[in-house]
C-alpha cells in the first residue's frame, strides 16, 4: 500500500515537470533529507528572548539562535557549561565568576560579518542592556525585560565586571540560590556587542531584535510575518554543526491545519498536536510527551468584589469538579493539581491536602460570606491552546455549569491573545483561566513570578494577591542553598495558599509534540523552549552529543562553593 502511494506520489509530482524535464528525484530527496519543517503554532513577537516570556517566541529563538553561559543537562537538570566553560561561586554566594570558552563564532549572515570571537564584552553587553537603564540599547524595543524584572535581577546584580577578555564576574547584593538557574534559562542569552556597535553606526538599533545575531546552532535566513521562519545551519558552531542544513518554521495557527500537514507529510514535527489517537494509530508518526513543569489554574482578581473575600474564593474552589475538567479538557492526560508545584518538583510537599469537591460546603461558605443568593461574575478564558490548558473556552463552559449549581452566574469573556494578556494586566477581569510554564526547574520559578507582591507590579501576578507573610517565606527560601530548609519554607508557603486561595490550581499537563518517524533527536525539554540542534533525519544514526569541554581545567566547578578564595585568571 505504501509503495503504491509512493508511486502515485511520484507520478503526480512529475506530472507538472513532465513536459519540461524528466524526474530528478535524487536532488529533491537530498534537499528534504537535510531539512526539517516544524509546524509552529504562532509567530514570534521578536527574535530576542530577553524581551518576552511567551513560549511561542522562546520556541522560535532561544535554542536555535543563541546560547547561554550555562545550560541544563540530563534528567536531573544539572547545570553544565555552555558558553562559559567553567564558573565559580564564592562561599558567601555574592560573587559569581564565569570563564568563557574561546573560539566561539557568531553567525555570519547577509547583514553582519563578525570579525572576532565571543569575549567578555559580549556578555557585558547582553546583561548591561537589561540592567542599566542608561545603556544605549536599554530602551530599544520598549525597555521591558519581563523575566528579569520578575526575578528582581536589577536588585540582585550590583555590578558586572570584566576581569579580562574571557572572564566575567557578577557581584550580587545577596546570595540567591536560584541565580545560576536563572542564568541557564532561555532568556539569559548572549548577544553580539560587535553587531550592536555596527547597528549603532548605521543608526538602526532596533534591528538587533529583528535581525538577530547569536552563537546558536542555526542562523536566521528569512522571516515572513505570519508565514514562515527559515534558518540555516551555523557552520562555525562551537560544537559540531547541526545535522540538518535547513530548519523551517511553518507558522500554522490552526490546530487542524497543523495535524493535516503532519498527516500529509508536509511537516516533519508539529507543535501541540490535537487528536492524539489519530497520531498514535498512524504507523509513520510518533506522539511524544514530556512532563512539563507547569500548572493550569483558575485565578481570582482579589481587588474586585466578591473575590476580595477569602470565603468566596474557598467556596468556589469547593464547587469545582476538577476531575471532570481533567477528563473533558485534557482527555484525562494530565495530573490533577493540588498546589502550584507539580509532583515532579523536588520541593513538592506530600502533605498538601487534596482539594475536595463539595458543593454543599461551598454553598454554606457562600452563606457565611453573605452571598446566600449567589452573584454573577465574569470568567476570562484564554483564546489559545497552551500546554497547561489545551482548551480554556471548554473549561470555562464546564466551570460555568459547576458554579450554576451553587447559584453563581458566570459570563464567559475572551479576547484575542495579546489583548487578553494586556487587559488582564490592567486588572479589568474578575476571574480568569490561565497557567504558568516553568522557565527552569527551581521551585521559586512558581512561587515568585506567579504570586509575589512584586509580580503584581510587573503584570505576571494578575490575581493581584499580595501577602507579606508569603513574600517573607519565599524570600527566606531563596537565601539558602540547603534544599531541606528550602523545602520546609515552600511547604509553609503552600499552606498559606491553600488557606487564601488566590487561585485554584487545576492541572499539571504534559507538553505534546508529534513527528514523523524519520526524524530523530530530542526536541522537547521539560521546561523552556524546544531545541532542534540534536535533530537528524531519515534515521541517520546519531551518537549522543555530549557537550565537550575544550579545556582541561573543566570539572564539576559548581562544587567549589567551599573555597572562599576566588579563582583568578586561567
Amino acid at each position: 500500500m505504501k509503495s503504491m502511494n509512493n508511486v502515485t506520489n511520484l507520478l503526480s509530482s512529475c506530472l507538472g515537470a513532465l513536459l519540461l524535464l524528466g524526474c530528478n528525484n535524487e536532488s529533491i530527496v537530498s534537499l528534504s533529507e537535510h531539512s526539517v519543517i516544524y509546524c509552529a503554532e504562532g509567530s514570534p513577537e521578536t527574535f530576542n528572548p530577553q524581551l518576552v516570556t511567551s513560549g511561542t517566541t522562546i520556541d522560535a529563538t532561544s535554542n536555535q539562535l543563541y546560547d547561554r553561559l550555562i545550560a541544563y543537562k540530563g534528567k536531573e537538570n544539572k547545570l553544565v557549561p555552555a558558553l562559559a566553560k567553567s564558573w565559580h561561586v564564592t562561599r558567601d554566594g555574592k560573587k559569581v565568576t564565569f570563564y568563557l570558552r574561546k573560539n566561539v563564532a557568531f553567525h555570519q549572515t547577509e547583514y553582519f560579518t563578525p570579525s572576532r570571537f565571543l569575549n567578555a564584552d559580549d556578555v557585558m553587553f547582553s546583561f548591561n542592556r537589561i540592567l542599566d537603564s542608561q545603556h544605549p540599547f536599554h530602551w530599544v524595543s520598549g525597555g521591558n525585560y519581563p523575566f528579569f524584572q520578575n526575578i528582581g535581577l536589577n536588585d540582585l546584580i550590583e555590578d558586572v565586571e570584566k576581569i579580562n577578555e574571557y572572564t566575567v564576574r557578577f557581584h550580587l547584593s545577596h546570595a540567591d540560590s536560584s541565580f545560576l538557574a536563572n542564568l541557564a534559562t532561555d532568556f539569559a542569552i548572549i548577544l553580539s556587542a560587535e553587531y550592536a556597535q555596527q547597528l549603532m553606526q548605521q543608526k538602526v538599533k532596533a534591528n538587533i531584535d529583528t535581525f538577530p545575531i547569536g552563537t546558536g546552532p542555526f542562523k536566521l535566513k528569512e522571516y515572513r510575518v505570519g508565514s514562515l521562519i527559515r534558518f540555516y545551519r551555523h557552520e562555525q558552531y562551537w560544537q559540531p554543526p547541526a545535522q540538518i542544513e535547513q530548519l523551517v518554521y511553518d507558522i500554522t495557527p490552526s490546530n487542524t491545519g497543523r495535524l493535516t500537514k503532519l498527516l500529509a507529510k508536509e511537516c516533519d514535527v508539529t507543535a501541540y498536536p490535537i487528536a492524539h489517537e489519530k497520531i498514535t494509530q498512524h504507523k509513520d508518526l510518533t506522539l511524544e510527551a514530556v512532563t512539563a513543569l507547569n500548572v493550569g489554574y483558575f485565578g481570582f482578581n482579589v481587588n474586585k468584589p466578591p473575590f476580595d473575600n477569602k470565603l468566596v474564593r474557598q467556596a468556589v474552589s469547593y464547587a469545582i469538579n476538577k476531575q471532570v475538567l481533567l477528563d473533558a479538557v485534557y482527555q484525562g492526560k494530565a495530573e490533577l493539581a493540588n498546589s502550584l508545584l507539580p509532583k515532579t518538583s523536588w520541593a513538592y510537599n506530600e502533605n498538601v491536602q487534596e482539594q475536595e469537591f463539595n458543593p454543599i460546603l461551598a454553598k454554606s461558605l457562600l452563606e457565611v460570606a453573605g452571598y446566600a443568593q449567589g452573584f454573577s461574575m465574569d470568567l476570562w478564558a484564554m483564546p489559545v491552546q497552551r500546554p497547561y490548558n489545551p482548551n480554556a473556552i471548554t473549561m470555562a463552559k464546564l466551570i460555568q455549569a459547576d458554579l450554576k449549581n451553587i447559584g453563581i452566574k458566570v459570563t464567559i469573556v475572551s479576547y484575542e491573545w495579546n489583548a487578553f494578556l494586556h487587559r488582564l494586566q490592567l486588572g479589568e477581569h474578575q476571574s480568569f483561566l490561565l497557567g504558568w510554564s516553568a522557565d527552569h526547574p527551581d521551585p521559586d520559578n512558581f512561587f515568585s513570578p506567579m504570586l509575589s507582591c512584586s509580580a503584581t507590579q510587573t503584570g505576571s501576578n494578575t490575581t493581584f494577591w499580595c501577602n507579606q507573610e508569603y513574600d517573607d517565606i519565599i524570600q527566606k527560601a531563596l537565601q539558602t542553598t540547603n534544599t531541606k530548609v528550602r523545602k520546609k519554607h515552600y511547604a509553609q508557603a503552600m499552606k498559606i495558599l491553600a488557606q487564601e486561595v488566590p487561585l485554584i490550581p487545576i492541572a499539571h499537563s504534559k507538553r505534546y509534540q508529534a513527528r514523523g518517524n524519520n526524524v530523530t533527536g530530542q526536541v522537547l525539554a521539560p521546561f523552556g523552549g524546544i531545541n532542534f540542534y540534536p535533530v537528524a533525519k531519515n534515521g541517520v544514526l546519531q551518537n549522543n552529543r555530549i557537550i565537550e569541554s575544550d579545556d582541561d581545567d573543566f570539572d564539576e566547578v559548581e562544587h567549589h562553593n567551599d573555597s572562599d578564595t576566588e579563582v583568578g585568571e586561567n
Partner: protein, 338 residues
C-alpha cells in the same frame, strides 16, 4: 469601436469614482478615528499624527480630503496595517498575484471541463447523457465550497497522499518573490532545485484549483449547453446540414466557434465569482492570497487593511470585467454597437 471604447471608459470612470468614494467613506464609517483608520497609524506619537494630518489635509473640507485621499492611492500609499504595522500596498502586491494565479488556474480547469461537457449535453439534448450531466452539474453547484475543500483534502492529501494540502509550494524551496506569480518566479530563479520546485508547485495548485473550479465549471456547462443549443437551431447550421456536411464537420467547423464567442462574454462575470470562491478556498488550503489576508484582517478588525484590500480587490474585478468586454467586442463585431 471608438464609441464602444468611450462608453466603457465612462463606465470605468464612473465605477472608480463610486468605489473610491465608498472606500473613502469607510474610514468614517468604521469605529475609531477616521485619520487613524485611513493611515493605520495606531501607535503614532502626537508629532507623527500632526504629520499625518498635514499629509491627509484633515483640516480642509471633505471634498478636498477626498482628492488628497485619491492622490495617496494613486501614489500607491494605502497606509499601514493596524495589526502588523507593515505597508499594505506592498503586502497586497505580494498577495494579489497568488490569488490571480489560483483563479486563473481554476478558470482554466473550469473551462476545460465545463465547456466540452456543456457541448456534449447540448448535442445529446434531452437524452440520458444530457440529464446526467445536468444533475451532476446541479450537485456541483449546490455543494458548499469549504466542505468540498475539506473532503478533497481528506481524500487526496491524507487518505491517498497524492497532493499536498496547504500552501503554494513546499517551504523548503527558497524562491524569491519577483512577480508574485509563483511559476514565473520559479522559472526566473537560479535555484539548483528549479525543476523540483516547479513540479512541487504544480502539485500544490492542483487540489485548490479543482475545488475553486467546481462551481464555475457547472456554470460553464449550462452556458455552453444553452449557447450550443441556440447555435444548432440557427439557419446557417441548417444550411450546412443541407449542404451535406457530416455532423462532426458541422460541430467542429461551425457550431463550436460560434458557441464559444457567446461564452467568452460570461468569462468576465465568472472571474469575479471565481475570485470570491478562491477567497474561501484560500482559507482552507492556507493559500497565501489576498482572500485569506482580507478575512484575517476582518478578524483582527484591521480597518486600514480591510478598506484598502476591498478597494484593490473590487477595482481588480472590475478591470477584468471591462477587459473581457473588450476581448468579446474584438472577437464579435456585432457586440460593439451595444
Amino acid at each position: 469601436m471608438l464609441i464602444f471604447t468611450l462608453r466603457r471608459l465612462s463606465l470605468f470612470i464612473f465605477t472608480m469614482i463610486l468605489l473610491t468614494v465608498l472606500s473613502f467613506s469607510l474610514s468614517f464609517l468604521f469605529p475609531g478615528d477616521a485619520l487613524v483608520n485611513m493611515s493605520g497609524a495606531i501607535n503614532a506619537t502626537p508629532a507623527q499624527l500632526t504629520n499625518l494630518q498635514q499629509s491627509y489635509q484633515t483640516q480642509s473640507n471633505i471634498f478636498w480630503q477626498y482628492i488628497v485621499y485619491l492622490e495617496h492611492i494613486i501614489n500607491g500609499n494605502l497606509g499601514i496595517s493596524m495589526a502588523s504595522q507593515s505597508d499594505i500596498g506592498k503586502e497586497i502586491l505580494s498577495l494579489l498575484p497568488a490569488t490571480i494565479e489560483l483563479s486563473l488556474a481554476a478558470l482554466f480547469v473550469a473551462m476545460l471541463i465545463g465547456i466540452p461537457l456543456g457541448f456534449i449535453a447540448a448535442i445529446k439534448h434531452n437524452k440520458a447523457t444530457d440529464n446526467i450531466i445536468l444533475s451532476v452539474s446541479m450537485l456541483g453547484y449546490s455543494i458548499p465550497v469549504f466542505w468540498l475543500g475539506l473532503l478533497a483534502i481528506l481524500t487526496f492529501s491524507i487518505t491517498l497522499g497524492w497532493f499536498p494540502s496547504a500552501g503554494k509550494i513546499s517551504l523548503l524551496f527558497e524562491i524569491e518573490l519577483i512577480t508574485g506569480i509563483q511559476f514565473i518566479d520559479i522559472l526566473l530563479s537560479d535555484s539548483p532545485y528549479k525543476w523540483q520546485a516547479f513540479s512541487d508547485a504544480t502539485a500544490h495548485i492542483i487540489l485548490p484549483a479543482f475545488v475553486v473550479a467546481m462551481a464555475p465549471a457547472t456554470i460553464f456547462i449550462r452556458l455552453a449547453r444553452t449557447s450550443m443549443i441556440e447555435v444548432l437551431e440557427t439557419s446557417y447550421i441548417k444550411a450546412a446540414n443541407a449542404k451535406g456536411l457530416t455532423f462532426q464537420q458541422i460541430i467542429f467547423r461551425h457550431a463550436i466557434r460560434n458557441a464559444l464567442i457567446k461564452i467568452i462574454r460570461h468569462v468576465g462575470l465568472q472571474f469575479a465569482n471565481l475570485i470570491t470562491i478562491a477567497m474561501v478556498t484560500e482559507v482552507i488550503f492556507s493559500w497565501p492570497g489576498i482572500g485569506r489576508w482580507l478575512i484575517e484582517s476582518i478578524y483582527h478588525r484591521d480597518y486600514t487593511a480591510i478598506q484598502s484590500g476591498l478597494l484593490v480587490l473590487s477595482c481588480f474585478i472590475f478591470v477584468v470585467h471591462i477587459f473581457t468586454d473588450f476581448i468579446y467586442a474584438a472577437l464579435n463585431p456585432l457586440a460593439r454597437g451595444k
